[in-house]
Each structure stands twice: as C-alpha cells, then as structure tokens.
C-alpha cells in the first residue's frame, strides 16, 4: 500500500468533522451520566472499576496516536485523521475520568511511558495497521464492558464510545485498502 490518500475524502472534510463532533459527544455523554445519575448507580465502585480499565486503554491510545503523528511517516490527509482520532480519545478519556470521580473513585493516571513496538513502525501502512489494531481492540473492550455496568446509563455511554471506535477502525482499514467493514458483528 503506497498511496493511501486516494481512498480517503479530502482533508477539509476531516477538519470540519472534527469541529462538529467535539462538543456533541461530550454533552450527550455527560447529560446521561451527570452527578445525580452517578450517585444512583447500584454499585458505583464496581462501575468505576470497569470505567478505569477503559480509561487506561484510552490513555494508551492517545499516546499511541502521538507516536504516530510525530513519526514523520504520515502524509496528508492521514495525519489530520490521526490527530482527529486522537482528539476523540482525549474526549473519551476526559469523560471517563470525570464519571469515575463522580462515582467517588480515583481515575487512573496515564502511564509514565508506554512501551510501543516502534521498531516495527517503518511506513505509513505500519502506523495505520498499529492504530487499526488498537481501535479494533477498543471495540472489543467496550463490548466486553457494556453488559457489566450496574448503571444502565453507563452501558449506554460505553456503547456510544464503542460506535466511535468502530468508525475509527473502519476508516483505518479503508486507508489501508482493506475491506472497511469485514464483519456484520463485532466481537
């Protein structure tokens, strides 16, 4: 895969999309998971626990996109895309950390350093494949979290993030020239 750009819409599309999605997602999630609802959760500490493991994965994704963005391997519009996806992960992490605190828990902090397989990232396609793997894993992780929440609003919030990660995964696969949506069910 040498020319990934032909498969993607123009750069301006991503810039515009980034602006419009920003607050909408956060507002939707926070509306459903504000302090009042959080206080009513059936088992707040168990829910906070589940959110914290998702938060850890989001923090790693933010760091991974930073590595990708600074690698010098990404051309436009893929670079803009990576930065936009990183922005989504930052929004997810902010919302998750806030809910953990609202539930009376302590939000996990990002690791001091992440041991990424940077020696294996030698081309744009390598970076895209690495990111696609993280996004696919995130979809599975949220799918594994949804049924666990005692508070159903949190299951809804996790499902909302799951949908976003699935879109990232599909677009990254598309950029790699792979079937963007290879299955009818994610697992």
């Amino acid at each position: 895969m040498t020319d990934t750009t032909v498969l993607l819409p123009r750069r301006s599309f991503f810039a515009a999309a980034g602006r419009t999605t920003l607050s909408a997602g956060a507002v939707m999630l926070l509306a459903g998971c504000g302090t009042r609802q959080a206080a009513m959760a059936a088992d707040p500490s168990a829910d906070a626990n589940i959110l914290n493991s998702a938060l850890g994965a989001e923090q790693e994704a933010i760091a991974a996109y930073q590595v990708g963005a600074e690698s010098g391997l990404l051309s436009q519009p893929v670079l803009d895309l990576a930065v936009q996806f990183q922005g989504h992960h930052k929004e997810h992490a902010d919302v998750l950390a806030k809910i953990v605190r609202d539930l009376g828990g302590q939000a996990v902090e990002p690791l001091a350093s992440y041991d990424f397989p940077t020696d294996q990232l030698k081309s744009e396609a390598d970076v895209l494949r690495f990111a696609a793997g993280l996004e696919k894993g995130a979809v599975s992780a949220y799918l594994g979290a949804v049924p666990l929440f005692a508070e159903r609003e949190l299951a809804k919030a996790a499902a909302s993030i799951l949908g976003d990660e699935a879109m990232h995964w599909a677009v990254l696969r598309c950029a790699l020239g792979e079937n963007p949506v290879p299955v009818a069910f994610v697992s």
């Binding site: 493991s53 041991d115 696919k136 894993g137 995130a138 599975s140 992780a141 949804v146």
Partner: protein
Amino acid sequence: MTSGKASLAAAVLLALLAVTAAAAAAPLGDAAPGVAIYERCQACHSLERNRTGPKHCGLLGRPAGGVAGFSYSAALRDSGIVWSKESLERFLEAPLTAVPGTRMGYAGVKDPQERADLIAFLAAAAPCKD
C-alpha cells in the same frame, strides 16, 4: 435383535454420549483460531508488554498477579489462583464472577470453543524474553 447385539448397541450409544458430553464440558482448543480471539484482548494486553493489563507470556503455571512490576488489584493478587487451563477456563468465562473485585472490566469469552482456542493460544505462546 438378540440380547447380545442389543447390549452392544446400547454400549456404543453410551460411549458416543459420553464422548459428546466430554466434548461439551471442555472442547479441545486450537491455538491457530485462538490468535483471532486474542485480538479481543489487545486494547489492554499483549504477550510481551505490560499495558493496561499484565503481559501474558509465560502465563501458564504462574500465580495470579505474578508479573513483577505490574500493579494488580488485591482481589486478583490474593486469589490464590495458579494459572492453568482449568483456572483460565473459569476466569475467562466471567472474570468478575471468578474473581470479584478484579480490575479486568471485561465480561468474558462466553463461547466454550472460542475460550478453549484462546487458552490453547496462551498456552502455546513463547516464554517471556526477560
């Protein structure tokens, strides 16, 4: 049918039922399809690196909570579990039921064949490099 033939047929039938029951209890795992099942874990785990979850190289035979340098929940560390095919079978089906209070916020792998393949993959993984 003579009574001898009838009892032979019954014995064959019973043997077949026993085989089916054993298969239902614990299907044989295959590491090759287990690779794809393990991709579900890759938001938090890898074989070689500690991430949100601990690394999985050298898992079988190790006590739960046994990777040095990874910060585990007290619940998992004090569980007394040693990882074997059987204990993984129980944990991976429903982690939070098997070890209440674990920080692994994941519902589990519910399909017995997928679970067996996943465990076969983990068992076949190369030992840790360090």
